[in-house]
């Protein structure tokens, strides 16, 4: 019987080692992609601006509604 890390049941040692491997997967993935996936700044900014305008428009409309009511 192979004893891994002092655990003889392979199902349990597999879980133990699986946890370590799953954690390492996250670590390696994070390191490899550390600087990848940046957004295109220009597009992002124009998107934000149009969005902000829309939100502001809604706010004004709503506040206007409130004025009429109150």
């Amino acid at each position: 019987m192979i004893v891994v890390l002092g655990i003889s049941d392979p199902w349990i040692s597999a879980a133990y080692i699986g946890c370590i491997l799953a954690m390492l997967l996250c670590v390696v993935y994070g390191i490899i992609n550390w600087n990848k996936g940046d957004e295109d700044e220009g597009g992002q900014i124009s998107e934000e601006i149009s969005w902000h305008d829309k939100e502001q428009e809604m706010e004004e409309k709503e506040l206007g509604l409130w004025d009429e009511e109150g």
């Binding site: 890390l5 002092g6 655990i7 003889s8 349990i12 997967l25 994070g30 996936g37 957004e39």
Partner: protein, 528 residues
């Protein structure tokens, strides 16, 4: 432990939390700030907030105690927590959710689903499901925290309940999601160091990893009769295939946590708080290590506590605590660890509870404010923050009231019911929203409504534990459950519900008119 010192340590901790909440409040101006932190959250804060929200005190003390009784088989749960709860969630769900959420300018999980399927009904119905079902789950965490403060600080339970609720409420109401996430990051950091020390110190104390594990393996014959009769074979071996404990382990694992975690509204919304995939890539690393250290430590230490108790008192852990699994971890800390660590561990547990509770309050508040009130009243924009704040206050009030009136038997069921309901109601719709363009509004709505009705009906009339705790079936029909033939009374609605809702969503979608290309282009712009 000195009560005065502990009181001072807790006070310093609470002041720190409130200070961080104050900083968050100063940085919160728009509704985008309040709901998704302006979408500019640092990956460290995002990852720790996700992890600390995910892990409550119950995961550390409750499940750690279960590992003390049943052993290291629970490490499969940790494995899935990391692989599904972090890796798959961030890499495959998180990135798409973030980009799509940005394309359709969604601020909450129901709003995300609603705008993706172009249906306001989805928004207020999902908001309602969250707002009605979550108080049970929030009350469970709040009650756990109050009981813990009651036993450690010697405070009256009622006072503890109200004080803790008020403190969390203050920084959630004022700071919004920034308040929640900044304090989560602080609490997550404390939790990480607390649990890391506990793991290292325990192995150190017991003579190293291999030696300690071998000692525990050698104790297999001492497993209590109650545990072996349900299938347990030792602390470092799997339970007997098909035994009740094996079923609990496998079904809780794969269904409750493995699947349930993916469609948790309070976790999904965190994907929408970062600026780009770069932050999510970095958060995978931080989150993976964090989760491994949380539940991994709790299960390993819980199991190994048997070795320590055997060496020092000649009893296994569950005997040393007089039969109460919930006190295995606290007793082990109190007897085996240095005094200063006992203080740090108190703060660790307080952090775990507060970080989960704050997210629950926030998501309920935005569900009531943004998703229900604003959608039904046809108002969006300016008043979001005020309405969400009112919603949070109502959520806190409900949790406190439930904390006073809930019977003990419903407490344990609360979390399981919440996970089942969200998985059955939301998972199919969420997966289809992200990965299947052919999904139609009608398909999504059919799945959502039928899934919700099915789960609620199951809990009221079919599932033995839930139906007995809720008592509605008993009152209406005179029977605890309508069907007594096995295995129906013990089957969790998630087992049938999730596949059922997937089939309904897919079939109805195929039978109805596909969504317009224009809408899909908008949703899927730059996604994947």
């Amino acid at each position: 432990m000195d009560l005065l010192t502990l009181g001072i340590v807790v006070l310093i901790y609470l002041l720190l939390v409130l200070y961080v909440g104050y900083v968050a409040w100063k940085r919160t101006k728009s509704s985008e700030d309040y709901m998704v932190a302006g979408r500019t959250t640092h990956p460290y804060i995002m990852a720790l907030s996700y992890g600390a929200t995910f892990i409550s005190t119950a995961a550390i003390v409750g499940f750690g105690g279960v590992a003390g009784v049943y052993g290291m088989g629970l490490l499969w749960l940790t494995f899935l927590n990391i692989l599904v709860g972090i890796f798959i969630a961030f890499v495959f769900f998180g990135k798409r959710t973030r980009k799509m959420g940005h394309n359709i300018s969604a601020l909450t999980f129901p709003e995300f689903l609603s705008k993706r399927f172009d249906s306001r009904f989805i928004q207020y119905f999902s908001g309602l499901v969250i707002f009605v079902a979550m108080p049970l789950y929030a009350a469970v965490v709040l009650i756990g925290m109050a009981r813990f403060v009651e036993t450690t600080l010697g405070l009256n339970y009622n006072i503890a309940l109200i004080t803790m609720a008020v403190i969390v409420a203050v920084y959630v109401v004022f700071g919004g999601i920034r308040g929640v996430m900044y304090t989560d990051a602080l609490q997550g950091t404390i939790m990480f160091f607390g649990m890391a020390f506990l793991l290292i110190a325990t192995y150190w104390l017991l003579g190293g990893v291999v030696h300690a594990n071998q000692l525990l393996s050698g104790m297999a014959s001492m497993i209590p009769a109650a545990a072996s009769s349900t299938g347990s074979t030792g602390w470092t071996s799997m339970p007997i295939l098909g035994s009740p404990f094996w079923w609990t382990l496998v079904s809780t694992l794969i269904l409750g946590v493995g699947i349930g975690v993916l469609s948790q509204p309070q976790l999904v919304v965190r994907f929408m708080t970062v600026k780009s995939n770069k932050e999510l890539n970095r958060a995978v690393l931080i989150g993976g290590v964090f989760i491994a250290m949380m539940t991994g430590t709790a299960f390993i230490v819980g199991a190994l506590s048997n070795v320590y108790f055997m060496q020092h008192s000649g009893q296994i852990a569950i005997q040393a605590t007089g039969g109460n699994a919930d006190t295995i971890i606290p007793l082990f800390i109190a007897t085996a660890m240095p005094v200063w660590f006992a203080y740090l561990f108190m703060i660790t547990l307080l952090s775990a509870a507060m970080s989960t509770l704050s997210a629950q309050f926030h998501v309920q508040g935005t569900a009531l404010g943004r998703d229900i009130y604003e959608t039904l009243a046809n108002k969006t924009g300016g008043s979001s923050i005020m309405v969400a704040r009112a919603g949070i206050l109502i959520a806190v009030l409900i949790a406190v009231i439930l904390g006073f009136i809930l019977p003990a038997n419903i407490i344990a069921e609360g979390t399981a019911m919440w996970f089942s309901l969200t998985a059955v109601a939301f998972l199919a719709m969420y997966v289809c929203a992200l990965f299947w363009k052919r999904t139609t509004r009608q398909g999504a709505i059919a799945g959502l409504v039928i899934g919700t009705v099915y789960t609620v009906f199951s809990f009221l009339f079919i599932n033995q534990k839930a139906a007995a705790a809720l008592g509605i079936s008993q009152a209406l029909t005179g029977k605890v459950v309508l069907i007594t033939t096995m295995p129906w009374p013990v089957v969790d609605p998630i087992v049938i519900g999730v596949p059922l809702v997937f089939i309904i969503t897919i079939v109805v979608s195929l039978l109805t008119k596909p969504p317009s290309d224009e809408h899909l282009d908008k949703c899927f712009k730059d996604v994947g």
